[in-house]
Amino acid sequence: MVEKPVGKIYPIFYYIGIVILSLAATEVIPLLTSVFSAEWRMSLIYVFTVSVAASVGAGFMLIGYKHRMLKLGWGEGMMVASGAWLLGMLLCALPFYMSGNYLSYLDSCFDVMSGLTTTGVIMVQDLDHLSNGLNMWRFILTFLGGQGMVVLALTFLTKNTAGVYKFYAGEGKDERLMPNAVSTAKNIWYISLLYLAVGTFCMFFAGLAAGLPVSKALLHGVWIYMSAWSTGGFAPMSQNILYYHSAAYEIASVVFFVLGSFNFALHYSVLTGKRKELRKNIETVSFSITLTVLFLITAFGLMKNNVYPDMVALFRKGFYQLASAHTTTGFMSVYARQLFHEWGDIALFGMIVAMLFGGSACSTAGGFKGLRIGIIFNTFKFELRRMMLPESRVTEQKIHHINDVVLSDSAVRSAFMIVTAYVITFAIGTVGGMMAGFPFGMAAFESASVTGNVGLSIGIVSPTIPALLKMLYIFIMWIARLEFMSVLALAAYFVGKVREKCA
């Protein structure tokens, strides 16, 4: 996909500027939350950080304004996506850092990247007493990152609709719900906002049933819904979902994070009347099979260690954690240390595989994605048939994904290539964790969690880990969320520039 060294740097600045400006505009929501909650110090911080983000965004736009009509290639489109995410992280971390709830700016950047990539691992101090304004910003970052912030900004704010598909693909959402990329992105947002209303309503009542006061039930309902739908994993309390001690809250959150992990093209089909797609689609079939098999493995491991001796506990702890891992959400209803000390190797193996498999393509989820797992499984089946049957009987390799699709060699190659890239990234993360002094099991679990943008933690991620490991995890979350190509395009640009200088 990276065709050539990128030459049109000015329009890239222009589009990144638009994204940053739209992030500054979004930051007004937590500002208003702070004002309504009478959090005056936080309100002043937001006034300052909104101004900084707006100035940087406007500056970038001005640099590229003259060249905004230049047609961008694939490499440049991908650089807009990866560059905006990187600069966005640095600017969105300002309110976090200035709030005083983080020990360093690196920790703030870590949480922003964790939010934007819908991962959910955290470095924040004293989470239970965070201001409403800061919490709102955490969940908005997750919600924006899940649907795609670059796509949001560029589809609603630019007229250059022809180039938008390149940004859209650069952000890891390379499917078209509609023939045109702008309508596709708008539909993604309509579906998300429709579910935001339904989900908040359900979580609000689940919160009331769990005994929360009305205002808290409403705020926590919005936040937990945003986090569940985006498969994010952030929660307003340090005990995560365990804080609520409510079966209704857990079941409602499972429903929404499972739905959030589905492909937007699937949602669009079902919501426009093609309901049979749910049982025919390769991703739902693949997800149902892998979820069942991996839960069997995990439940067997938990039974072997006699961790949860009754059915309700096995379901509420074992299934909840596994579903959260497989959809790459990261909500936890157990403590991190319980995973390491109680669960045992078999159950942790099931969890690691689930985290790496992940949810659906073109969804808010991370991991290999069900579509690629389906394609790879289908390829093995096809090759086996080709060996067993006479050549004339084996024609073409087909899958069902919205329509019946004949698989080309390049689609199969691309699936294998991206899965290989995920496995290599997972291996690098594991080695990084071990080099920081953690045992293999813990390092592999945490690496699978950041590679799959999951957010479950076995206890490694904390402000006390070495800065290099924090930076490695930030890099892994970023590259895995954007599915490698756009970050590689950015890297190729800088390598090209260095070569030019050296030549």
Binding site: Y195, V255, V270, L271, F295, M303
Partner: protein
């Protein structure tokens, strides 16, 4: 318009039902393993 709203609402119900089926699978496997 009503037809469109009806189709969308039915779509949401079907999706939630499918998600509930997966939760049911989790319950069934828990029961199976405990037995």
């Amino acid at each position: 318009m009503n037809k469109y709203i009806g189709k969308t609402a039915l779509g949401i119900i079907v999706e939630v039902f499918f998600s509930a089926l997966l939760i049911g699978m989790g319950l069934a496997v828990s029961l199976l393993i405990i037995w």
